[in-house]
Symmetry: D2
């Protein structure tokens, strides 16, 4: 019989992309150049860094919240995260596409989330103003034991029901929300920035967010790819208070 496997990581991998600071510049310039923007497409080395004037334009667009030039790009990530994280992720509707592992069509894996030691376990204060603290050693120990126990207990019940011919979609009802699930996610630079603004806590944010830690780790991994592929756009995003344009 399979035994429950525990994991403390969010898994995020960039699978495909078409993303460039240049495209932002071109898309913005069509408003003042019209069809002559075609000449600029040809001149530019799309893989190199954008010239200073173009970086200034990107900053202007970000600061003044001209959002549409940031939509002509795409990122597809394959992620593997617990269901309770997936549920927050799926609330992003605009500019996001998803295909997720199905508990109806597939026998799920015995793969469960276990908070690592750096995951704060206690919550102080009121809704909207929580402060999270690490937790005492005994709290850490208890949490690990409880999670370990419930996951194993639930997994055994799931496996037994499958063995007895119960439909996957029925048997999975007992699995806890820390069960891992996999998903492809496609978004564009603008919808990604919107996600990042809500799912990261950052001292430079004009509008502070208080995301759950697990989704923030995931968001930070996505931001790393964003910063690598669209360095000028990402810098302008950070400099302008991390407000999605």
């Amino acid at each position: 019989m399979t035994t429950a496997e525990f994991d403390s990581e969010m898994h995020v991998e960039l699978i495909q992309h078409e993303a460039s600071d240049y495209m932002v510049v071109h898309a913005a310039r069509v408003s003042t150049l019209g069809d002559r923007v075609a000449e600029f497409e040809a001149q530019n080395n799309w893989d190199g860094p954008v010239p200073k004037a173009d970086a200034g334009l990107i900053n202007f667009l970000m600061k003044n919240r001209h959002g549409t030039p940031f939509e002509h790009g795409m990122f597809t990530f394959r992620v593997c995260v617990p269901i309770f994280v997936m549920r927050e992720l799926h609330r992003h509707r605009v500019g996001f596409s998803y295909n997720e592992e199905s508990g109806r069509y597939k026998q799920l894996d015995a793969h469960f989330y276990m908070p690592a030691e750096h995951r704060a376990l206690t919550q102080v204060g009121k809704p909207g103003h929580y402060v999270y603290e690490p937790g005492s050693l005994s709290q850490i120990e208890q949490t690990h034991l409880e999670i370990w126990d419930v996951c194993n207990h639930a997994w055994d019940a799931y496996a037994r029901m499958l063995d007895d011919g119960i439909a996957k979609e029925v048997a999975r009802m007992v699995l806890p929300v820390n069960t891992y699930s996999s998903c492809y996610i496609t978004c564009n630079p603008r919808s990604l920035m919107h996600f990042l603004s809500l799912r990261t806590k950052d001292e430079f944010s004009t509008f502070p967010s208080y995301p759950m830690q697990e989704i923030e780790w995931m968001a930070r991994m996505m931001e790393t790819e964003f910063a690598r592929l669209m360095p000028v756009t990402c810098e302008a995003f950070c400099k302008n208070g991390r407000v999605a344009p």
Copy 2:
């Protein structure tokens, strides 16, 4: 200590609405009447049944998939359904708005889903072509026992962690996906029809769907309200193969 409570129903209640067959007719007529459509707004008794010619127009729009006239209305439902149903629901992005109970901000209720006897338990065939069957008496009994046991076990662990001061968002990780959750859902007639076309199995569907039973029950309750408030539109939807326009 609270004990787990079991429930076999989907709870769906219409909270507010602004929906009328007349609005579909007006919205379609603006294309040929322009501003003179205002005269028709005034003439009509919006609460009465639409005249025959208008019913014909609605049927024409549905059949030829002119979708936009069906967007000028709204339904807000309060639903209380298991998390595994909520997860399917939240995949509907366009024309859907959600606010859901939070496992981060609120202590969840000991309220769990238990399949009733009419819920098919076994699955025959291949993905995409499953046929569901009721299950033997022993399968029914086993399923009930397993679900009863895991829910109680998980609930006790959840309650103990909360007692020991663990944050709600951490403790809830052990709760199974059959835990109930509440949500407000707002949609428009067009997005509702799109939902219905995918989440009901119907012999008159041009494009057959094979939804999970629980979400179909929920969809059928929503359809009842739709049929009551927009009888002509709902009839045209059904007569034209349940294809969302």
Copy 3:
């Protein structure tokens, strides 16, 4: 033969709505109350003003950009505006539904926009930083004459082509972009605020916008209805820098 008629107004009329500050409060409270929110629905007098604590909650949501509770409402407007305004309007995609008068199916009206005297006619400065000024008397006179002349000239050509049996969709190609067109628009409180934040110029805006004057007049009329039906939400929007949550 019809003669061209000139008009300097944007026409905006609220046709139907379902909008209330209470719904914002309920939608937010479901996150901490779950299904018990139903008790509050029953208690409230939805038509009266919201209590102070609820107004505080609305302000908190606005300030911290919790946007979804503002989506459970709707406004349908019938508007009659020039095509060049309609074109800006139709760029709003999310949470907006449209049905517009058709130049393919309907003979258009000889109804053209003429800037009134308070409409600034000259533009000083660079793109993104234009300042508009009234224009001299001779500029006003010339503009009126040119517009009067082109509209009449184009209208006569349109009418002649229709008389000779040319299809409406071909004949209309000669009509100028200041020709009026009618449209139904449905949006929700959140998408409306997003529209208002971009299409009004306001000294209290955190992110200043520089809209075209005609669309701003239109936006201000929509804002009047919004303020009337959702006074607490509208006030919170204004107090918090007119940033759509």
Copy 4:
């Protein structure tokens, strides 16, 4: 003084893309493979043709209207088309991003649409059932003269107002809707198919559409790129009645 230039073409150029039949297959397979889908990503030669079994899967998804696996791709087109075509294009809201030439920020070009001889000029029948016919020689001649005359007349007025210091956004009010405008458009394979299903007339369509000829020419050019980059998906789309999944 510039003279009006006439053009009978729709201009459509693919600027960037990330589109592959393989991605459809992977996105669909994540539902039954979960994280093991990663192994398949590595095996495949994404640039080669998909194997027969995968083509069968794509056909199954299309036929049964499983739409989401078709969202993980993108196409960016630069188009230059008359305003009356742009207006139809901009009505596509979901999965479409736009940046268009601005008549507020840029002096527009004297570039106007003139129907070519193969463009049907007369309309027979009722709204919803129009049949278009070529038009007589005298109708063709008259149409050309009228359009030529109005465009030149309007352009001269536009140029004079600009010379006299009138703001671009005011002066352009006299320009006809057959003035060309440029735009970047980004969409995904699913939203593109939705567009194609509505904007092409095809004997194999399950739901016939009666698009304006100019937008159909544009749609056909976009379809050519789609067929080149995602041949199996495009074939499945055509074989299954050109219904967007």
